[in-house]
Symmetry: C2
Subunit: 382 residues, 2 copies
């Protein structure tokens, strides 16, 4: 039985991870500051499925599975709370997904840009101090984002090389939002801390995560994760899938020729499981890209429309001006995937977006808010 | 007449810069939170020359030169103060040297690591917002450090290339302290903001700055800059020069074969002057390495002893254990220097460390505190 502490365990990624590890018989503790729920209120966003308060979710899970999850409300930027929870949970593995996850949110205004750095970057530095002061070795698994590579197009798993191999280099650091900036800088902090304190750290750089079903939560509505489809907290694939379900145009920002990496929520969970089962040696910082497919936003929209059509749903695409500052045509070549080598058999988009998927969205049709799907945060002027 | 705002204008670098620009007839405003003076108290450090309160320094300067410098006490992390000062000073050029400058200070404990990020990294993000909201174009000049390159050995001016030139890349991002981490991440923030908001930004990556004389302050003790020789705030060259002056062993951490770039305070001022006179276009982020010489710490100690000997002073070196975690042998190859091409004729160490230099140190002999020259902050455990 592994002791696992999930930072950000109330979130879209953290909650299904906590459930999955608890189902497998591990001792799971959640720490979350519930900040995302507040930010969501500020932006008028609402998850597609009703998300119960965390104490209720944990009770529901116990009723369903007979298994306990311990939870604490606390902020990783509050070091007193963080150290207390570390001392109580005494984890073998820390899964850190407590960062502010939205690019548009980080670009709202100065306060949001700073909150993003405090939450993600300063919070992670506190986590690193908590890990280095722990009494026994900890494997820290950080859920980062492919976005940290920014506008760089050619990315290999692990370390690209500078000047023909004379210098190893981990990151390309050309972010396109304050959130990507925080993510990129978190990576540098992880790398430094691993070198300086000889910590075992894995950073998973996730593609844009989509979907809601994982094995643990598939059939239990009250255990559903917080699935967003709005322009601030919803990823493009989640937004498109809701638009396709209800016959609303799929809104493409700009040309749609920006290529992005994608990952289903289910595969996200499997990949973290494989990562936890295979920790790197102490003093090693490992970066693993975690994605199933790379495609342009336009290709995504076409595949989404085709998937919807297969189950009798009809929608179309609509190009809208891009409020972001980003490369309009952004090729992305990803070579290799260590997680595939470690046994992960990624699902394709079409395997996730089946009839059941669209039906589940349509069950919540009355909750869907068209307003919040409109992009309104400009990148340029504040 | 250029309007120049110097952030951190009470500091070792900022004060001589403010004086030099004011002497040349520019309209100079200083903003400083005086934090360095507090940190210095906490560490028991004291500058070699008595440093007057800023209001006194500014008055003394007016008496000497007939020129006015405006000053504000304020913190760049306090956005209300920052915006107010920007609106009042309405600068053409902002010289930003308001960061926490010490590696050992940043490694003291968690609080110091976090303060360093807040002060340097979050502070810079506020500065970037202040620049982008200004009513007219601003050239932002940021005084960074060669330390941001970290353990990377081969560094060219500007952009190294990843994968044989397929991707341009600005930074190597392998810092060796929380201060270098902040500096490296500041660079990524500058680069992002320049791209996103089309700002004109120059980052000067300084070698380790040494010395105290600049043209403006050479003959006026009450205008002297805050020169540190202690193990926390003194650079290795300043510490060595004080040790050599008083016949105390020059303490080398570890092998002494770590190569570092160096820069005299005087040339630092000239280089910033050349940079201000030649701003990059809007939307351009320019990185200029700013250093006179590269040498190992051991070579530095030998040249320091020789310089002292020429003026009749005798000292020796002493190897002490290295409390830092760093490459013990760290070759550093620097190719090219745009500032040389722009007309800067760098002085060698021996041109700075003349009889006058050592005599000035010896005039303050009674103030020198041997205790604070001992390194006591370990990198490894906190």
């Amino acid at each position: 039985m592994t002791k696992i502490l999930v930072l950000g365990g109330d979130g879209y990624l953290g909650w299904p991870l906590a459930l999955s590890f608890a189902e497998q018989g591990n001792h799971v503790t959640i720490m979350d500051n519930l900040a995302k729920r507040k930010w969501e209120m500020e932006c008028g966003s609402m998850p597609l499925f009703e998300v119960f308060p965390i104490h209720r979710r944990v009770l529901n899970f116990k009723e369903q599975s007979g298994k306990e999850i311990q939870y604490f409300i606390g902020d990783v930027t509050n070091v007193g709370a963080l150290y207390h929870i570390f001392d109580t949970a005494n984890p073998d593995v820390v899964i850190h997904c407590a960062g502010q996850p939205s690019g548009p949110f980080s670009m709202r205004n100065r306060a949001s840009a700073i909150i993003t750095q405090e939450n993600s970057y300063l919070g992670t530095i506190n986590v690193l101090f908590a890990v280095q002061r722990a009494m026994r070795p900890v494997h820290l698994v950080v859920l980062g984002s492919m976005g940290a590579y920014g506008i760089s197009g050619n990315i290999r798993d692990g370390s690209p090389e500078v000047d023909g191999g004379k210098e190893p280099l981990l990151f390309t650091n050309q972010p396109e939002s304050f959130q990507q900036l925080a993510n990129a800088n978190v990576s540098v902090a992880l790398s430094f801390a691993s070198r300086n304190w000889e910590l075992s750290i894995t950073e998973l750089r996730l593609g844009l995560v989509y979907g809601f079903w994982t094995t643990a939560t598939s059939d239990v509505p009250s255990l559903q994760t917080s699935f967003y489809y709005d322009a601030v907290f919803g990823t493009v694939a989640n937004r498109f899938s809701v638009q396709a379900a209800i016959g609303h145009p799929l809104t493409i920002y700009g040309s749609g020729r920006q290529e992005r990496a994608f990952l289903s929520l289910q595969d996200m969970v499997y990949g973290v499981g494989l990562t936890v089962a295979d920790p790197p040696a102490m003093g090693t910082f490992r970066v693993l890209n975690h994605f199933s497919e790379v495609m342009s936003v336009e290709d995504l929209s076409e595949r989404m429309l085709a998937a919807a059509k297969r189950v009798g749903l009809t929608a179309r695409v609509k190009h809208v001006p891009n409020r972001r500052v980003e490369r309009d045509v952004h090729p992305c070549v990803l070579e290799g995937s260590q997680l595939k080598d470690m046994g992960l058999n990624y699902k394709r988009l079409e395997q996730i977006l089946d009839e059941n998927y669209f039906r589940t969205i349509l069950n919540e049709k009355d909750r869907i808010d068209l307003d919040i799907m409109e992009s309104y945060i400009p990148w340029r002027k504040h």
